[in-house]
Assembly symmetry: C2
Homo-oligomer: 591 residues x 2
């Protein structure tokens, strides 16, 4: 990789080592993140920081970590889970189009990495989008972590795959500097398709006793004779004299003509729904991103061939240039969103919530990058009905709640959906918006505000014997239960937990204390990692717990939504039962 | 799809409609699970069940769900999340080799589905494994859910991709029965590589007013004129007379010569570790699967180019024929394991626990299939040290706990690791085993048993003021804290929660009650969905909660393991502090 990296950093890329975030700079993504040391060495050599810092590699006090993270100003997205960097690079390349810049994006992959399916999702999307501002380089060194790679040095295996996927592929000797520079020139001159440079390399090149040998993956030379011998061999290749001095300054990109003023989003009009109007939150989501997109040029939307279900088609209709169709490829959709976000866009990728699990590892890496992606998952829970369990997201809240820095938002009506879309957009860091399939009535007035980290008490009286916490479709079951109980003379508090994370612990504790410590949760989600556990964790410091946690507790099946809510224990009648049982046993304890 | 399905069911496949699980039967996987109605129609037509059942499609009382699940005896794995069926089909094809059967596996994919990266992971693995007993058919109907597909009817786009990936590809008119049968013949005669039949089809073929039209995805004809007209048009194509009667009986596969006796696993010798011996649980895992594999021919292992880290290489060394290397492609690894399990194998796929998130959607579908996969994730948590956050699994327990039917096992020493591997193997349904990177001392004697759903109280006295629940590396931090507290005159109970799910609620409640209700959890995992929340949920019915939940609460970084345990709040000193604070505040409350 030393030769490839040297060519990129010291002959090809236009960038400013002192200001790596210059919006006109070429981008470099190290998709094979485990090669971090050479990335750090290149940036140090370019002058981004002092070489002495390199000796702190992997130490707790240094940002030069085992794999790159955006703690470093020259890293756009964290890498180290393979096959993700190339997806982010697509986002970076799409962003150049969005802002009208001619910066180029380079991404360096491993040959072993190319077995990841996400690489081929990326290959399809980049070719379809004709991203000729994207240049990949595959370091074909033939050795994986544990053994030789699948295709080793059979370069044709790689070339025919990339060509079949519509890329311009160039096979070179990755240690021939003239060939590397020639290929980079050829890539820059190629129009209408991305280029993949397939570089045949020898792992450990230049150090005779490790060249092409297994067993050296991630291993440092032993200090002493071994290291000395390796260094002595490498130093023999040093070039001095004419041509050895590189003037990076001449390749610092000029500011764009417009100077890239900070975008000025137009003020956003409040929602305009009518109380009682029946609107699915997924549909309100689609309308909301379209409205937001018209007000803010940074907002983009991505979808995975379900735009007519997630309603992201409403965005595409008004802003087709900022809508990216990824077809049925959720990994590249989320990865491209990460790259777009890292370059200043505010991306909303959407699909069925259950299919976001396809991108769980990307969601994890987006957390590590703390990048501004706003994921939207529709068709949450069993309330989708007849399509059956494979289409029902019942673990998405657990997936997002596990990450320590995601805002997890769950609107129940159209007004809260629209407000939460805007809140997510301007929330620093990643966010998730969970929407539902069924139509639900608008219960909030258009001027209601929904700050992230809050909740709404939608029913309360001084005599409430319990607090029911619901979200989405279960909020309406809770409201039905409230009415049924009231008819029997029992009043309960009802809470809409629209912000599952961060969670309003104080308000939950207050509600719990005001209702004899009797908290009941009801969620269209599995029990593990869901709303019941979230609320229980929030109220535990006050010595409270959740008395009854209504959740889906087995693998569901096809059926009508209302049948399923009842069969799997989260309908109004189950809430009524839970309240009566909890209040009864609490009274017994008090007696 | 009607023509393709008719050819498969009534001319090509050898199967027994009355006994779909006959081990010699050809397998059919409907990877495009949303086409379930035709699958059900074909099996009904073949005589598997009465046609009248078809009218119960998608009703709550019927197993004919919106997408196929193994509730139906002729469905091996649930499909409906695209790109998974082809991975399971690889497992089915590998299983034929394992048992020495010549059954063939057929898998029907959609063209839109082919954008999923997992399809190309499968393509690579099937070609590498030369699975000529596997035949794919892609229904290229050019229409996705929301719009025309990426490549529509450009058949060369498909052919060149499959050929580049090493498959024998045949392009046909998918409505030409002679061409379909010819292609199936050609596939059967092809040696050394899998075949993909690329069938150009027209969606809605035979019904003039919907043929090739958008807007009919997942839509039924309206009863009345619309339906009548469609049926009338279709009935015109019915074939009667000579050749129209199909004799399926002649294609029922004969039992194998050996009659496939139920495998008789040899008795498993107990572990043979020494108390105090330092062994990483990941290494004990590798040794355990090798030992188990030698005793039971159903056991197979899969890995994703990290066999030297997960130690699955110990299995490969003794049982190379039952070890499947999937290179860096976690989706196909887990998908193939699902297919193997559905055909009677007991597969152990392993990789770094964080990279199992790559297969989260497969893990979800394995839950829906309730299939016998035994996933192993190594390198859990921040205790891996310098490699940094991208390599640390801190959300894997949340991912597996969310599913209602996974056994989630977390050994702390080598003896429990070996015992839990065997327990997982013979546990009906899916299981997850979480192992750690650092070496830990053996604390259990070799005859100790570890039933799933249990826990171990490893320290207890009559004066315990609190219960500390740990697992893996944090169990040893808890033991250190125990000793430090004891030196100061405070004794605590220490619990090893080796079975996170199912969880031993009774024992946790008993421990909590015996220690003044003071429960403290400590986990090498994020807080959301982890051990703290699991324990809190388990003890809530007794009115108890978890007083202090020590967990990783921010994105971690590179550093030495012990530095990280301390910095992110899960080391012995944090446990000591938590105990003293919890006991102090409890005493205040009691005062």
């Amino acid at each position: 990789m030393a030769d490839l990296t040297a060519a990129l950093f010291f002959a090809e890329m236009r960038f400013d080592p002192k200001n790596p975030q210059n919006p006109e700079s070429d981008r470099f993504v190290l998709s094979k993140g485990h090669a971090a040391p050479i990335l750090y060495a290149a940036w140090a050599e370019a002058g981004a920081f002092d070489r002495s810092e390199l000796l702190k590699l992997r130490q707790i006090g240094s940002d030069l970590e085992g794999h790159p993270t955006p703690r470093l100003p020259f890293v756009d997205v964290a890498t180290g889970s393979l096959g993700q960097g190339i997806c982010a690079a697509i986002g970076s390349a799409l962003n150049a189009r969005r802002i009208g810049s001619d910066y180029r994006t380079y991404v360096l992959l491993g040959d072993g990495e190319s077995a990841e399916g996400s690489v081929w999702e990326a290959a399809d999307v980049a070719a379809m989008d004709k991203l000729d501002n994207l240049c990949g380089i595959t370091d074909v060194n033939a050795l994986g972590q544990s053994r030789p790679t699948m295709w080793q040095h059979d370069m044709d295996q790689f070339a025919r795959r990339w060509r079949a996927f519509g890329w311009h592929a160039i096979v070179i000797d990755g240690h021939d500097m003239a060939a590397i520079l020639g290929a980079l020139d050829e890539a820059r001159a190629t129009r209408g398709q991305p280029t993949m440079i397939l570089a045949r390399t020898i792992k450990g090149k230049g150090v005779s006793f490790v060249e092409g040998k297994e067993g050296w993956h991630g291993k440092a030379f032993k200090k002493g004779e071994e290291l000395d011998r390796a260094l002595a061999e490498l130093e023999r290749h040093f070039v001095t004299g004419p041509g050895a001095d590189i003037d990076l300054a001449q390749r610092i990109p000029k500011p764009s003509a417009s100077g890239r003023p900070a975008p000025q989003p137009k003020p956003l009009a409040p929602p305009s729904y009518t109380l009682g109007q029946e609107v699915a939150t997924r549909e309100a989501y689609g309308a909301a991103i379209a409205k937001l997109g018209e007000a803010d040029p940074r907002v983009v939307a991505l979808d995975a061939d379900v735009k007519n279900s997630t309603f992201s088609e409403k965005f595409e209709k008004v802003l087709p240039d900022r809508f990216f169709q990824n077809f049925i490829a959720e990994q590249v959709m989320v990865g491209a969103a990460m790259g777009l976000a890292a370059r200043g866009a505010i991306p909303f990728p959407s699909t069925f919530a259950c299919f976001l699990t396809r991108a769980a590892d990307f969601i994890r890496m987006a957390a590590i990058s703390n990048v501004n992606v706003k994921l939207a998952g529709s068709h949450a829970g069993i309330s989708i009905g007849e399509d059956g369990p494979s289409q029902m997201a019942l673990e998405d809240l657990a997936m997002f709640r596990a990450q320590p820095n995601y805002a997890v938002l769950y609107p129940s009506d159209a007004v809260s959906a629209e407000r939460l879309v805007a809140a997510a957009a301007y929330h620093p860091g990643p966010a998730y918006i969970r929407t539902s399939r069924p139509k639900t009535p608008v219960i909030y007035s258009n001027d209601e505000s929904f700050p992230i980290g809050g909740l709404k008490v939608v029913r309360s009286s001084n005599d409430d014997v319990a607090t029911i916490v619901g979200c989405g479709v279960t909020l309406f079951e809770a409201l039905k239960a409230h009415d049924q109980l009231k008819a029997k003379g029992t009043t309960v508090r009802v809470v809409d937990l629209y912000s599952v994370a961060p969670i309003d612990a104080d308000a939950l504790i207050a509600a719990g204390r005001a209702t004899h410590g009797c908290l009941i949760t009801v969620e269209d989600h599995y029990a593990g990692g869901g709303i019941g556990e979230a609320v229980a964790a929030a109220v535990a410091p006050a010595g409270l717990t959740v008395a009854r946690r209504l959740a889906v507790r087995e693998i569901p099946r096809s059926g009508k939504p209302e049948e399923l809510l009842d069969r799997f224990g989260i309908s109004a009648s189950h809430i009524v039962e839970a309240v009566l049982a909890a209040v009864g046993s609490a009274q017994e304890v008090r007696r």
